[in-house]
């Protein structure tokens, strides 16, 4: 009873400490802080206590061991924490030993953790002894887990072995693996067959035949329908049956050991059959350990990973966005090409036709009237000059020459110079951004400036350009009348579409009465500064 209280208190303490730690609550001062520092080391208390209690009878041990544990926890908390897993594993081993002793006729009453074994007289298995191996198994698992969790000495090899075991058998599950279900089913049929089944005379004759038939049918159906589940069941069965073979070997005769594979404890004298039981159990365990990682890997891979699902959702969304922006980009590009074609057709092309016609007429007129011919040549010259002007404007609209020559910062500088308003510039661009992005940002700023000039009635404009951690940011601020809305004018909506192609965004704040702030942000890479060479 005392032990249970100490154990529960300690576990409560540790859970509290770990939860606070996981939540990132800062370490308090005083007693609570000092307790928290001890963390896992506190577990040494119940471990020491149970060890002392199990030493049997010598009650003076309990205060002595508890005192030692408390000293270790207080003065060497790290050492105390490291000792815990070994203590737990030691208790587990002792549990196994104790269970074996009871089976061999050891009848002294002992407290083993929560189990108090009471003697029922000589040569009888005492009450509660059956729970001892269960507790020992649980302790063994906890001890191993603590060994890994606390990184105690010896956790390295365990970890390596576990990883190596899990990494074995990277291949898939074949029909051969599924067929391993047959021996498992066979052994199960034998164990469930007629006879004393864990002390209960339950199945016999027809019942056993029906069970056998059901198991065999189920195994065959499973092998043919789903080799994965057949292999899974085979792996689990191999491990369980293999362990059962060892349980028979160790705890016989406490555990009924009837026919197990090729050995039969009913009809043969001991210990020869025990030896075959151990061998058979080992073979089954080995096969199970060989098959288990393959099956586990398969099922883990099949599990719907929440992270993966989130990724899939994100990707779906991304594909949708990309489809939309690509559509917009293609539309914009097509419209642009149409505009260029029309401009060329009505502009430069027409002018060049006019040049050709004028020169043709001049050629014809020259012998008769050189004066008139000269006038025509002058006209042709004029036309070609106009054609050049139109081509120049067209090129500017496609790709501004300064942007090609000097990059974004200087292109915006040139833009500011061409704006009939005082423009304040704050350009801080460490390198050069990719050309398509630079072009999109340039035209966006140009559109913003054109709007300011046309509509805002502003006195000054301020352009800021900066780049930080993969994000190009441009801001155009004017002190005009405000009221700009991307939803109303087609200009800003076009800017939005143009930027969306590069995952860029446009944000406009323009309350009536101003000021208008227009922000453009585009994610992009920036190269190192261009080295001027000449």
């Amino acid at each position: 009873m005392l032990f249970a209280i100490v154990l529960l208190l300690t576990i409560g303490c540790i859970v509290f400490v770990l939860v606070r730690e996981a939540k990132g609550v800062p370490r308090p001062d005083g007693l609570r802080g000092r307790i928290r520092d001890r963390g896992w080391g506190l577990l040494l208390l119940p471990v020491a206590m149970s060890a002392a209690a199990m030493a049997g009878g010598a009650r003076g041990l309990i205060p002595a061991e508890l005192g030692l544990a408390a000293l270790a926890i207080i003065f060497a908390p790290k050492l105390a924490a490291r000792l815990v897993p070994y203590g737990v594993l030691g208790l587990a081993v002792f549990g196994v030993h104790l269970a074996n002793e009871y089976n061999n006729g050891f009848t002294s009453q002992t407290q083993y953790l929560f189990v108090h074994v009471v003697s029922r007289g000589p040569a009888q298995v005492p009450a509660g002894a059956g729970l001892v191996p269960a507790e020992a198994g649980a302790l063994f698992v906890v001890g191993l887990w603590l060994l890994l969790r606390l990184d105690a000495l010896g956790s390295g090899p365990v970890r390596t072995l576990a990883a190596r075991w899990l990494n074995r058998c990277r291949g898939g599950i074949s029909a051969a693996h599924a067929l391993l279900l047959i021996p498992v089913a066979g052994l199960t049929m034998q164990l469930l067959g007629p006879g004393n089944w864990f002390g209960i005379q339950a199945v016999d004759g027809l019942d056993a035949a029906v069970i056998d038939l059901a198991v065999a049918t189920a195994a065959l159906v499973l092998i043919f329908r789903s080799r994965v589940w057949a292999a899974t069941l085979a792996a689990a069965g191999l491990l369980v049956l293999g362990a059962y073979g060892w349980v028979i070997t160790v705890f016989w005769p406490a555990v009924p050991g009837f026919a197990y594979g090729f050995s039969d404890l009913h009809n043969s004298p001991v210990p020869a059959p025990l030896w075959t039981d151990a061998l058979e159990g080992s073979i089954l365990l080995a096969a199970g350990l060989w098959l288990a990682p393959r099956v586990m890997r398969h099922h883990l891979a099949d599990l719907p990973d929440p992270e993966l699902a989130a990724r899939a959702r994100h990707l779906t969304q991304r594909v949708q966005t990309l489809t939309e922006t690509r559509h917009d980009a293609l539309d914009t590009a097509a419209a642009e090409l149409r505009r260029i074609e029309r401009d060329l057709h009505d502009g430069a092309q027409a002018r060049l036709v006019a040049v050709g016609m004028s020169l043709q007429a001049a050629q014809r007129l020259f012998p008769a009237s050189p004066e008139a011919a000269l006038a025509l040549v002058a006209e042709a010259k004029e036309s070609s000059s106009l054609a050049l002007t139109e081509l120049r404007d067209l090129v500017r609209g496609i790709y501004p020459p300064v942007l090609a020559d000097r990059g974004l910062a200087d292109a915006i500088r040139a833009l500011a110079l061409d704006t009939p308003l005082p423009v304040e510039l704050d350009l801080d661009l460490p390198g050069e951004v990719e050309l398509p992005v630079a072009s999109a940002v340039y035209f966006s700023v140009a559109e913003a400036l054109a709007n300011v000039t046309k509509h805002a009635g502003a006195r000054t404009v301020r352009i800021q350009l900066s780049y930080s951690s993969g994000m190009l940011r441009a801001q155009v601020t004017d002190d005009g009348s405000g009221g700009a809305d991307p939803a109303l004018g087609s200009g800003l909506a076009g800017v939005e579409r143009r930027l969306a192609t590069f995952d860029g965004i446009l944000a406009v704040s323009s309350p009536p009465g101003g000021p208008t702030i227009l922000v453009i942000e585009v994610p992009c890479a920036s190269s190192s500064p261009k080295i001027s060479s000449c």
């Binding site: 010259k381 070609s384 000059s385 050049l388 002007t389 120049r392 090129v395 500017r396 020459p401 300064v402 090609a404 020559d405 000097r406 200087d410 500088r413 040139a414 110079l417 061409d418 704006t419 009939p420 308003l421 005082p422 001027s532 060479s533 000449c534």
Partner: protein
């Protein structure tokens, strides 16, 4: 007059050489890239260098940068920069050293060979010649700023022609007014823009430009 020509397109280069030779210029070097241009300008020390902005190796503004570098090494080395497009940004860079002997024209201006050769001679003589398109942009830019709005339309025209590097005589001819009237307008402009009067044509232009560029 000794001239260096830098133009990467063969047809245009040959056309320029033919045009200038026909007008009595001596073409001492006709090159096709920026490094060659820089060498030619520094070795030949021509009376004027005629430079295309866009030249190899990078086909961006190599020509302009070579011309600027040459002028840094030989201050006032006369350079006439030609381009398919004109930018105030480049005009500002060319004028920045205030040394004169600078021209910046659209390539189409070659069509008018008389005006073109006049511009070359003006640059060679240390004058400043800006393309009307640049001047127009400058004017538009400052059309709303306070002092420029005080100019009369006629003074505005005179200011524009001055920025194009024209002499008083040329301005008078162009506007069909007397040279005296031009001087009067010029004085009016300088007074309104608070600029000190100067006899030197180039200084006058630079003063105007310095004001407009501010």
């Amino acid at each position: 007059m000794r001239v260096v020509i830098a133009e990467d397109l063969f047809l245009l280069r040959e056309g320029l050489v033919r045009l200038l030779t026909a007008h009595g210029f001596e073409v001492v070097a006709a090159v096709a890239s920026a490094p060659e241009l820089l060498r030619a300008l520094l070795d030949e020390r021509p009376d004027v260098g005629i430079v295309d902005v866009r030249l190899p190796p990078t086909h961006t503004d190599d020509g302009l940068r070579a011309a600027l570098q040459a002028r840094r090494q030989v201050p006032g080395l006369p350079v006439l920069v030609l381009s398919q497009y004109v930018e105030q940004l480049y005009a500002r860079e060319l004028l920045a050293d205030q040394a004169g002997g600078v021209g910046y024209l659209l390539k189409d201006r070659v069509f008018n060979d008389e005006a073109f050769t006049a511009a070359i001679r003006s640059v060679a003589a240390g004058g400043t010649v800006l393309d009307p398109e640049v001047v127009q942009k400058l004017m538009v830019r400052h059309s709303r700023t306070e002092p420029v709005t005080r100019l009369t339309p006629r003074e505005h025209d005179v200011l524009a022609l001055m920025a194009e590097g024209r002499s008083n005589t040329a301005i008078a001819q162009r506007l069909f007014i007397s040279e005296k009237a031009v001087s009067k307008h010029a004085a009016g402009i300088f007074a309104k823009l608070d600029l000190a009067l100067s006899d030197d044509d180039n200084r006058r232009v630079l003063a105007v430009l310095a004001y407009l560029e501010s």
